[in-house]
């Protein structure tokens, strides 16, 4: 570079590392997950079941208390097919992310759908969890690799349209 060229920018990579405390509610849920169980918590005020639990019902502003097991099966309430790469996401493109309402839960969560043609994914489709081998289970949501269609009949939109 000649001395006459202006210095316009430099690259300074940023990295962040942090220690995360999940809190008592998520800890209970993670320990259950390490045993292959999905354990949510119930809001004592509105009786809605949260999975994964965060310890409180943000709607009622109260702590969730009683634990309840939810199924590792559920319904796709809406979804996207992702065709763009993202630096932090280690998945082959395209892939399908869905809002999945697990049986027994009242709030959908973001899950991955696989073993399905992309144009066959549907709102209302029934899906089930595909787990990693038990020997690889840890305190992590990644114990479930992804969800796949069960082949059961679709659930009518009317039944879950409040849970998008």
């Amino acid at each position: 570079m000649s001395d006459k060229e202006p210095v316009k920018s430099i690259i300074t990579p940023t990295r962040t590392e942090y220690t995360y405390t999940p809190g008592p509610s998520a800890q209970r849920s993670l320990r259950a997950l390490a045993r292959g169980k999905l354990v949510g918590e119930i809001c004592p005020s509105c009786n809605q079941v949260y999975y994964p639990p965060s310890g409180a019902c943000a709607r009622c502003g109260v702590a969730t208390r009683d634990e309840v097991e939810v199924a590792d099966k559920g319904t796709v309430t809406t979804y996207a097919i992702v065709r763009v790469p993202s630096e932090n996401i280690d998945l082959e493109l395209p892939y399908c992310t869905a809002h999945i309402l697990l049986d027994g839960a009242d709030i959908p969560f973001f899950g991955l759908i696989q073993e399905c043609e992309w144009d066959a994914v549907r709102i209302g489709m029934r899906v089930e969890a595909v787990w990693k081998p038990e020997s690889e289970w840890g305190l992590n949501a990644e114990n479930i690799r992804y969800f796949r269609p069960t082949g059961e009949p679709d659930v009518p939109f009317e039944q879950f349209k409040e849970h998008l």
Partner: protein
Amino acid sequence: MPERCAVIGVGQTHHTAKRIDVSQAGLLREAALRALEDAGCQWSDIDAVVIGKAPDMFEGVMMPELFLAEALGCVGKPMFRVHTAGSVGGTTAIVASQLVKSGVHGRVLTVAYEKQSESNAMWALSIKIPFRQAIVAGAGGYFAPLIRGYMQRSKAPEDVGIRVALKDRQNALKNPYAHLKFPDIDFDQVANSPMLWDPIRYLETCPSSDGACALVIADEKHAAKAPKQPAWIQATAMRSEPTQFAGRDTVNPQASRDAADELWKKAEITNPREEIDCCEIYVPFSWFEPMWMESLRFAEEGSGWKMTYEGATALDGDLPVNMSGGVLSSNPIGASGMLRFAEAANQVRGEAGEHQVPGAKRALGHAYGGGSQFFSMWVVAQDPL
């Protein structure tokens, strides 16, 4: 009795992918100087400065307001930084207006910006959350399922989003400050552009921009001496809600509906479709036009798409929306909300140039942010309420 307040100066940069010729401070100063000139003000006329921008990781600079103070002439003056994610530009303008409305300050400069080229917003928005699977790919990955939910609920024709994008991209051709300009844009180009986050196509998506926007907001005494028509701020409203709770309507959030209701009530508007002349609303992905038209009470739930379809939201329609080309055409994230507020102000000031809606007397500026959880909006008009 609260003070009346008005926008008396508007400034913005020519938004583009990379402004490597200026620093963040230089970018902001450009917009600020234009707003001051428009208001007929000097730096010394300003009592306080309110800065807004989206998450710091979008540039990788923590608390940039600390080093921006001198570039914005706030040494020795009160200075604030506001943050409410993508809605921040709107929220920042509202905070500035409240400093005037409360009688604390007579003239406030407010500036919002993003210099997206300095980092990677998609990376910053796709963080690995501990104990969870990393699968949500940026804002598009988050919003695509919500759009599909709207499509399912409303049974809208599949090409509504394409039509919104085409309209906004055509409007952008009339805006000298717009980032993306496709002179020969047509329906097929949008329809045939690749799906990024199906159902969102490439040309239905906002760009990453470098840009800034600034406003001078003044009380009645100073507005009376302003060289141009002031845009009187008749009403403002803000609401927030958590990202997740059981029964949350992510497609048409409660916080959005509540903010709209409060806004119309404060502005003494009973029929927004009739009483508002034009809107600049936050549409980063095309389908959010019909979604927000419903949420803002311009259309019945499930029928917002008809406004797009019937041409009501076109520049020559009965309720033009995003005359400037909107967020789809320029997206310096932190400034995007303020740009909506600024463009609304310019419409009622008669200063919108080629994308002016003839005779616009009252306009809506709107922004949203986070996971559709922060909402900011204002009504500006040729006359105070």
